[in-house]
Amino acid sequence: CSGFVKLAPGNKDLFISHVSMSSLSWMQRILKIYKFGYDVNEVPGHILTFSSYPGALVSMDDYTITSAGLTSIETTIAIFNNELYTDKYMKPEGQVHCWIRSMISNLLAKTGKQWVDIFGNYNSGTYNNQWTVLDWKHFTPGQPIPDKDVLWILEQTPGYFETRDMSWYLKKYTYFSSYNIPFLPKISERSGFDGKSKQFSWYEWGGSPRARIFDRDHNKVTDIDSLMALMRYNDYTHDEFAKCNCTPFPYTGEGGISARGDLNVPGGTYEVESMGFRDHAGLDFKGTNYEMFKKMQFRAWGGPPYDPLPVFDWNHTNLTNVRHFGQPDVWNFTYVDLEWE
């Protein structure tokens, strides 16, 4: 997945956005709002709005706005260190799976710090993510953001997690991007990204294609439309950062902010396995700005990115044997701006 937090020029606006990437069989989608009649003092996040899936109680993307004034997103950290997959770190007793901890953090947390503190309890070592939690309560349009408590991250591996206040980073660089690579050194070491990044910049925090595209293009984001354009960006046949030592073509559809692994060549040779032809693409876009956030609204676009890439069409894809019951054949939709009752 790709996650992105951005301060507009002059701090006139603030954006948080996310693109979910997964199997294309996961395109049965539902945008949800839960408004529980719980006491707001006990359950600050008693209203939750999120992009989700049928039957799912949590986002799972993740992209959730809470009535406590928080937005939580995540991108997954792969674990290359197989030694972490043991009953020393992952066990059925004493641990609570990620989906439950994310639900409870969204419901109970008043602040970003509280969110990561709650989430860290009973670490199951499953769905190891870099979580990014934005606290909108510290943002006033046109004013400098404070030095702390605007943006917290949490990174998890089996048996270990770490949190950090990244408000300084947002203030200094005006953006924070998340692209499936850990930021925190100890997480990088434990997960195995340290070693991988020495071999391939594909795995390097700050050096991977998406990191470089975000760094190059974050200044183009000034409003919700330009935010959407960046998050759906994929022009892999022309973008220098999507180039690879691959055949028959020297680029990969995974080298965009929103991936299109389905457009890579079956049987092609790719220098990193995850650059190749796969049942894997950006499934959506979600984004909100300050005005939308105040009404717990966000903009959502369903389906893999197109323009300049071709529209995803189940009748014209090299992906065969991928289940897609109930899905439209052609994913040529545009965005919806949610307005809850």
Partner: protein
């Protein structure tokens, strides 16, 4: 055959102007359900299609749903519960409303993501079943052991109440507000992200098209 085609095709591009114009003219229908306390047996809930129960006090939850999957790619769901009822009943009723309104999409999602997960992976699924059942048993025991005022464990309980509501409603079972810690397909839908690592822990053989760095 497929490998000979270009990785993308010019012929299925749709001009952005057409997409936006089609979208702006779309009209979306909404369906409502109310979840109400049964008038003769207060231990049961009823689903009423529409917004109102027979009397206002008996309304525990209200759900609103628009299935726009074929026009925007999304279903849009709103669930509201009412403070005059206990948290447990509210959470269960929220699930009931969702299960009723989104049954068709749950079914499709089940077909796409759950139905075949154990095909050719029988031994893995036996290990998984054992692991998940043990975890559910532990969660149940903790919910009982912890003081009911503990915020974390109270929310664990409410989360499973909501999950039980979805399952009961989807499966058209009697709607008795209960909290089950049971392994069923709706529970498996929650675990999608967690499964990336449970697959590795429990040595599932990777399928050929799986993304090698499983995640979202």
């Amino acid at each position: 055959l497929h490998a000979e085609r270009k990785p993308w095709a010019e012929d299925n591009r749709v001009p952005m102007e057409k997409v936006l114009s089609d979208h702006s003219s779309a009209k979306f229908k909404y369906e409502y359900v109310a979840v109400c306390v049964n008038s003769t047996d207060e231990t049961l809930l009823d689903i009423v299609h529409g917004k109102e129960c027979k009397n206002a006090e008996s309304r525990v939850a209200l759900g609103k749903y628009s299935n726009q999957v074929n026009t925007t790619g999304w279903g849009i769901l709103e669930i509201e519960t009412f403070a005059s009822h206990s948290y447990d009943v509210q959470a269960y009723a929220a699930g009931v409303a969702e299960g009723e309104l989104t049954r068709l999409q749950i079914y499709y999602h089940y077909k796409n993501t759950i139905e075949t997960m154990c095909t050719n992976h029988t031994l893995f699924c036996k290990r998984l079943y054992k692991y998940l059942q043990k975890n559910l048993d532990w969660l149940r025991s903790e919910v009982i052991a912890q003081p009911p005022t503990d915020p974390f464990w109270r929310q664990v309980n409410l989360t499973f109440a909501q999950l039980t509501g979805i399952y009961d409603s989807y499966s058209k079972r009697n709607l008795t507000p209960e909290i089950g810690f049971d392994l069923h397909p709706i529970y498996m839908m929650q675990l999608a992200g967690d499964m990336f690592d449970l697959n590795k822990l429990l040595n599932k053989t990777a399928d050929p098209l799986d993304y090698p760095e499983g995640g979202r």
